[in-house]
């Protein structure tokens, strides 16, 4: 069992704490404020829709809408979907493939991944292609790529995929809204680690590793501790690597509030970068949620075996007990997770007045860390 320690070895210095990294990142997207109050009439709603940073359309390559994140009426959506489909197939007929369109102030990105077509309309051109890839993988995580490809063959061109994706709109929605919150994770398909004391992280990782190792469950490959859409620790078997894109899918899944109870969840999930034809079984629990502690951390244990539920439940019990028993660690950990410190400029050793912010990306681990802005 190998332990990955995200976050490197820098200790997090004291200084101004921040409430959650996402809210403190100033992201250049249109903020939607006081939505309910401002929207008095239909025209205002329309105006508001146009301000939405991302309008997403997902449709089958036969032109049937599958997902839209705006409130256009059904007829309008159907005709727009038909157009999108026509553009894509026209370019295909030219032996080419459509990528983007722009007008004065809009950027439209297309992605054709048979049997689906993705389209996003945005005021900002950055990374739209990546965002659509992420959406495709998001759908794959629910259905797996091979199932997706077979569906239309089996059920015919006019099949309404929404039947199979029922209830997962909110996952796609939250994936889209996360672009706004932490686009940096998408930019280079990277992950960010929640700042913690190195020794605490060491203890957390080794505890997770030893408990998973001791259980000797053949097929239980990964253990991940997630908090605030960031990684606290990952443990994995040496042979296996989990791609940051897949991690982001998991993060998106566990950030779904309907899962966040003290109950345990057993969720089949396809991680397309790992294997887009098969499923993992994710044992998801929030050990300290809804109790008096209310620590927003989530433990995910991934296995390829359907019957590992009880085994992983035991592993989870082991981990939680060990962590809680080390009271010094647990206090620090709760603190770190509840109100994460952002990296400070002073941590990179420069007090230069002209340095406002820094961003660090480790290419091999795909970890990214970003300082609070000055």
């Amino acid at each position: 069992m190998e332990v990955e320690v995200p976050g490197g070895s820098e200790a997090v210095g004291g200084g101004g704490t921040d409430t959650g990294s996402e809210s403190s990142f100033k992201v250049s997207q249109v903020e939607i404020e006081d939505v309910e109050e401002n929207l008095k009439n239909a025209e205002a709603i329309f105006e508001h829709l146009e301000q939405l940073p991302f309008q997403v359309f997902i449709l089958s390559e036969f032109g049937k809408p599958i997902f839209v994140n705006n409130d256009r009426n059904e007829g309008e959506v159907v005709s727009l979907a038909a157009l999108i489909c026509a553009f894509v197939s026209r370019c295909q007929s030219w032996g080419d493939s459509l990528m983007t369109m722009t007008s004065q102030d809009n950027h439209i990105q297309f992605l054709h991944k048979s049997p689906l077509i993705f389209c996003v309309v945005s005021k900002y051109p950055e990374q739209l292609d990546q965002q659509l890839e992420v959406l495709f993988e998001q759908i794959c995580s629910i259905l797996s790529k091979s199932q997706l490809e077979n569906v239309y063959k089996k059920k015919g061109d006019n099949y309404d995929l929404r039947k199979l994706l029922r209830g997962t709109d909110r996952l796609i929605d939250s994936s889209i809204s996360s672009w706004r919150a932490s686009p940096i994770n998408l930019v280079d398909s990277s992950i960010s680690a929640i700042p913690m004391n190195p020794s605490d992280r060491e203890f957390l990782s080794s505890t997770m590793a030893s408990s998973m190792g001791a259980a000797k469950l053949d097929g239980a490959l990964f253990g991940i501790m997630i908090a605030k859409r960031q990684i606290a620790a990952i443990v994995r078997f040496k042979k296996y690597v989990i791609h940051p894109r897949d991690l982001n899918i998991l993060i998106n899944l566990v950030s779904d509030t309907t899962l966040q109870t003290d109950a345990q969840n057993w969720v089949p999930i396809c991680l397309p970068r790992f294997n887009d034809t098969g499923f993992f079984y994710a044992y998801i629990s929030y050990p300290w949620c809804n109790k008096e502690q209310d620590v927003p951390a989530c433990l995910v244990l991934l296995s390829v075996k359907r019957d590992h539920f009880d085994g992983l439940k035991e592993v989870r019990h082991q981990i939680v007990t060990k962590l809680e028993n080390n009271s010094k660690f647990f206090t620090n950990f709760s603190q770190a997770v509840k109100t994460p410190n952002l990296y400070q400029i002073s941590q990179i050793g420069s007090n230069s007045e002209s340095l406002w912010s820094f961003l660090y990306l480790n290419h091999s681990s795909r970890q990214v860390c970003m300082s609070a802005s000055k």
Partner: protein, 516 residues
């Protein structure tokens, strides 16, 4: 390779490719298609192909022409769905400043740009091949493609008037419209050259000659006297070699006219001048128009002067007025004079839409003769003075960097990377001993401009280092733009080095025109 739409282009391009050290590329070498469409004409089912007014390559199948223009029209309408009402208003505003409403489409293999002109009645479209542009070392930069397309339209409009003037009068004029488009674009497109530094085509400025105060005064008084003597001349422009000295015409027409003169008209006249260089070089002459000025025969056929359609002097008027153009050249100096046209060549029906008051007579041989007599001595005087002054600084110290300077209010642009064909040898005022920047640096300059330098901000500064160790410095002061491209060297290893180098360059080369 088999994916190229028309294999002939590819082959012809191989044999005629300009040498790689050149800083221009033949547009046709990267071009996939170019079209002019009038969607209104193709509204009827089954007659969609009628919307195609001009299509390049000519051999393209009808079906595909229809498909491509239909695609463009659909893209325009589709993207309309996402335009907010406020930006629609903005577009209307920017329309007046000659910015056309545009769409771009990127596919895996091509880059398309469409612009709409004349109250959205017409769509012009162009597609460049990514593969061909790679072969030609030409970085695709959409704003530049947009400018190239708009320039093509403006150039047509300058010579033939607006598109709608053909359509409006009688529907029967469509064949004639097609014929004119064909006449113009079949020549324009094959001759068009674009810069490997696409920013130059995008900015589209004109190059002024830097001269001393007294000399400038000489030029201005020459023009003033000329206009006093011949009040029939309404607009005027004077060049030395391929650089502008002075102009009195609408700024909206300046870039097109300047480009026509320096890229098309003047290069064709250079060869005969070189041939006859032995004798009588100080004798001025008219380019185009009649060769024999001694008779009083009316100017007809080959001898008639070209008519150009120019904006009126008041900036808010969109109307175009026809002018007869006289181009007189003497000792490297070129004077371009415009006399309001009435009737003349444009007796045809479409001239009636652009009503021009009949107060002025059209240019006659007599007028040409008189102007010739005036300019022969006066212009020769000024031109030789300029020649002396230029000659004194014949070999300015070669720079060890590349630069682009652009002032949007005067449209003045100078660059070590621009050349106008044929004349460049003579006008080597801006020599640089540095190699031309590689294509990735050119691309980086464009990307930096579009991502980090706001078009609307008047001030800004940006330093970028390329992976091949070239430095790009972009400074914007009072809307004036300076782009410095510094080759890799030991003097530019850190940002501080580059900043001090920039300060030195601005001080030594740009102080007069650029306050740091």
């Amino acid at each position: 390779m088999e994916a190229i739409a028309n294999p002939l282009y590819f082959f012809s391009n191989l044999s005629l490719n300009p040498p790689s050290c050149s800083n221009v590329v033949r547009f046709i070498d990267v071009l996939e298609f170019f079209f002019v469409a009038h969607p209104q004409s193709g509204r009827k089912e089954g007659e969609e192909h009628r919307r195609v007014m001009y299509f390049h390559p000519k051999g393209e199948q009808f079906e595909r022409q229809t498909e491509i223009t239909g695609f463009a029209e659909a893209v325009v309408n589709f993207t309309e769905n996402f335009l907010s009402t406020c930006s629609r208003r903005e577009i209307k505003l920017s329309d007046n400043e000659d910015g056309f409403d545009f769409r771009t489409v990127t596919t895996q293999r091509t880059e398309h740009v469409y612009i709409r002109t004349e109250d959205d009645q017409f769509i012009l479209g162009v597609s460049l091949s990514k593969q061909l542009s790679q072969v030609s070392d030409y970085p695709l930069f959409q704003p530049a493609i947009r400018s190239i397309l708009s320039d093509a339209y403006k150039m047509f409009r300058m010579f033939f008037g607006t598109f709608s003037s053909f359509i409006k009068v009688v529907p029967d004029d469509i064949p004639k419209f097609r014929e004119r488009l064909d006449f113009f674009f079949s020549k324009y497109i094959p001759l068009l050259k674009v810069h490997k530094m696409p920013l130059l085509d995008h900015l589209g400025g004109v190059e002024f000659l830097r001269m001393s105060g007294p000399l400038y005064l000489n030029v201005v008084s020459l023009i003033t006297e000329l206009r006093e003597e011949f009040p029939i001349i309404e607009k005027i422009m004077i060049l030395y070699q391929d650089k502008l000295l002075y102009y009195q015409l609408s700024k909206r027409d300046l870039p097109s006219l300047f480009r026509y003169l320096t890229h098309n008209l003047l290069p064709t006249t250079l060869a005969p001048e070189l041939e006859h260089s032995g004798r009588n070089t100080s004798k001025g002459r008219y380019l185009r128009g009649p060769t024999d000025l001694t008779t009083d025969a009316p100017l007809l056929g080959d001898e008639s002067l070209s008519v150009v359609h120019l904006h009126s002097d008041s900036e808010d008027l969109e109307e175009l007025i026809g002018y007869q153009m006289m181009v007189y050249r003497c000792l490297n100096a070129t004077v371009c004079m415009f006399v309001r046209n009435c009737g003349g060549e444009r007796r045809d029906s479409d001239a009636s839409t652009r009503s021009s008051p009949p107060q002025n007579g059209i240019v006659s041989r007599r007028l040409l003769r008189n102007i010739d007599q005036f300019l022969e001595t006066e212009l020769a005087l000024v031109a030789s003075k300029i020649g002396d002054e230029i000659g004194d600084e014949k070999f300015p110290e070669a720079t060890d960097f590349h630069y682009i300077y652009f002032n949007p209010s005067s449209l003045s642009m100078t660059s070590s990377l621009s050349t106008s064909p044929a004349l460049s040898v003579a006008a080597s005022g801006s020599a640089s001993k540095v190699l031309l920047p590689p294509v990735d640096v050119n691309r980086l300059v464009c990307d930096t401009m579009s991502n980090f330098v706001s078009e609307t901000e008047e001030f800004g500064e940006c330093f970028v280092k390329s992976s091949s160790d070239w430095w790009i410095v972009i400074k914007k002061v009072n809307s004036r733009l300076l782009v410095l491209i510094l080759p890799p060297s030991s003097y530019t290893s850190s940002l501080a080095d580059v900043q001090s180098k920039t300060a030195t360059i601005v001080k030594s080369h740009f102080e007069a025109i650029f306050f740091s």
